[in-house]
Symmetry: C2
Subunit: 509 residues, 2 copies
Amino acid sequence: MKHALSVTRAEDFSRWYQTVIAEADMAEESGVRGCMVIRPWGYGIWERMQRLLDDRIKATGHENCYFPLFIPLSYFEKEAEHVDGFAKEMAVVTHHRLVQKDGRLVPDPEAKLEEPLVVRPTSETVIGAAFSRWVQSWRDLPVLINQWANVVRWEMRTRMFLRTAEFLWQEGHTAHASEAEAREETLKMLEVYRAFAEDCCGIPVVAGEKPENERFPGAVATYSIEAMMQDGKALQAGTSHFLGTNFSSAQNIRFQNAAGELELAQTTSWGVSTRMIGGLIMVHGDDDGLRVPPRVAPWQVIIVPMLRDAPEDEAVLDYARSLQAELSRQTALGEPIRAMVDARAQKAGNKRWGWVKKGAPIVVEVGPRDVAAGNVAVIRRDRLYQESGKLDTAFVARDGFVDQAAGLLAEIQEALHVEARARLDAGVRRDVTDFAGLETHFAEGERNPGWVEVEWARPTGVALDAVVERLKALKLTIRNVPGTAAPAQGPCIFTGEPAVERILVARAY
Amino acid sequence: MKHALSVTRAEDFSRWYQTVIAEADMAEESGVRGCMVIRPWGYGIWERMQRLLDDRIKATGHENCYFPLFIPLSYFEKEAEHVDGFAKEMAVVTHHRLVQKDGRLVPDPEAKLEEPLVVRPTSETVIGAAFSRWVQSWRDLPVLINQWANVVRWEMRTRMFLRTAEFLWQEGHTAHASEAEAREETLKMLEVYRAFAEDCCGIPVVAGEKPENERFPGAVATYSIEAMMQDGKALQAGTSHFLGTNFSSAQNIRFQNAAGELELAQTTSWGVSTRMIGGLIMVHGDDDGLRVPPRVAPWQVIIVPMLRDAPEDEAVLDYARSLQAELSRQTALGEPIRAMVDARAQKAGNKRWGWVKKGAPIVVEVGPRDVAAGNVAVIRRDRLYQESGKLDTAFVARDGFVDQAAGLLAEIQEALHVEARARLDAGVRRDVTDFAGLETHFAEGERNPGWVEVEWARPTGVALDAVVERLKALKLTIRNVPGTAAPAQGPCIFTGEPAVERILVARAY
């Protein structure tokens, strides 16, 4: 079978990933260190993700706001752990003007800021300052807000969508009167993320609490959803943090409770970023490029008219356009079908393969003979080939296709999810009961070792550090304590003590 | 008549504007110099504007992308005029790490960037660099893209929504094979902006070309839409620029034409920002607060249940919620009606006035007697009072209200637009034929002098500078040459020469 990409997943997963991004016109290096340009197909997927996740964030009672890009240094100094966690990788604005000097532009020494500003790496501090103004009484609580924004973390090694200096995300921030309510919120948003990843992106995930060493700087508890890439590595695809009173004490978010006493608010924060697009590629891509689940596909049905610079072109284009109009009147997966006619002046075959690489769920080709017979030629991106290796094109009646398109899209959405779910289910080993077994499993040089779920005694402090070091030697990290894991019943694989819970151990992005 | 705000437009328009923003919970100072926090009601209006304008930008064939926040200094050095226009007001990133020093955080001297980065004030340069990679042949043209982003211009005097250091906007950028096509694009997007302002925001505007001295730095021609505020000042509410080959030569955007020769692409750019929200306030606000046209209102119908901590509260809430559900199934102005129940634990009267100040188009109050009688009490924000000065509440049957809600919202949308249009039409004087007349008109100390449309000979260079200075002495600027203005027929009011066109002269934000 010949494939559309120059490299397969099996040959070189990392190069395959970069190739998909390039060939599907999703993103490219910008020339600005660590920053990428997100091109229309990549950004279109992000817009779809935004729309679907935003609906869910609003449906759970949150409102969108917008907070400043810049954070004064003094805000950061207030939360010590938070500073330690972020201070090493922030962009710092020190001047507000440029001047010409020796024919070059330089920061104007006369325009130095009295207090340097940090470009937000995350917004707990500046949003906490706003909360402290908004919250006076228990009647002002809860405060439930979210923002869609760009953030900057000065990463040394970058990788498109997975780790870039600037990235796009949503960050939710809430303040509550009680710890119980804030903890409930943290878990509620974790569940929103799980459902969004699975139902919209077709990405099965394991939701659970992160170990102490993987907590967000300043958090009391951090939860994540972890997705399995096709190379067996884990990708943290969303996090939800219970911050307790760490930020409210630093930012002075106090309220008068019903008894008239002053209390610190309990806060949470949670975020999902453009990283999810990297996950989408590594979960659903194949050796022909990306496959986009219909719910997050910018276009779900691409109609390619076979044009030949001939008089019948006009009839073919009309046929394509009226097909597009008919499809747009149908509802699939709760929304109008997004169908477009690709009338660019290129060979139909090139256009077909361009859309295959981009991963449009359905490509429909129409030529003069289809116009005459009232047919269409349909290619499903999730089942591109017949068993023989031949392209699986279904020649069907146009009316039938229009009637079935919504069902077909729902089927593709489901099929991609089921395929990924089966891979995740098969990819987690649960029978490793000692550290030697873990070493053996990950030392075997298998291309795809997947994940291993083991039991541990949840050590803390230096004992935890020791565990982290032993795992690091195997290039492993603890992903989370799956919320759905069985109870522990044997010894901790690190210490031999009675285990208290099961953790997922994996290589990760 | 008693009003909901502590200051009226007539008393102090500037203080009234700030008061509306505060009392309608739209935005607030953030504590970060020149940056504001956009609160849910303000941001909700922006989200509505985004959705409606984005639909129109996409319908005209543009795709959304995302480009880096940071621009290396060297990119700016390439377009000399552009640098001069922006270099004085940019945030400059010089370091990528902080360290602790004497207990304070400071930029780490070890982490100084080799080339400082500018926080984008606008993205022609960095997008031009991408275009130069994307465009090789005439087949690659046109490139039609847009991005929604934050930008930073280090303004000395800031004013919420109108002039802030950081603001949100969309910036469209396109490249074309011919000047004619690029000029057509520039005017097409100007028309998109005009229609968006008028049809969605209910803000009548005058679209036209800016004079030479008001051009965007680096543009060959700049067009604007100008809106009239209630104090008679003009607000530039959107701009569209024909950039010729100024940026394509600086950024090397070249293509092989059909004859095989290398040519420079012709580019355009165009933008609308959160400034539009400032315009919305100053066009539609009244002495009771904001009035939001239904198309851009986050919530169009607010249902306030009259709760009294009594057993019948549950029935009132049920009644409110089922009313909300019924309304949500109706379509108004092309979209489902956005109705919400305000069930907060506050007095109904406070809630009513809160929503009046926010400018929700319709407020519906329901109490136990309404439940029994199947009625609702309806307040239209655009006609708040009866002639007697009494609040104009309509007590109507619930079913009738549900049936008429869509029509009512369309009527309010239209009424606000018509009112503003009448004000604009009445506010432009066209009979001033000499400079002395202009001086007299603007010297009369009227509170609202409106705009004056006069004839001029379109001087350039130093002659234009002289005109600009004479106007400046009267605190006036040239807004634009209205596309719909009559032809000139008399002398230039500045020079006495035969005039060539008519220009709008006004005080402006």
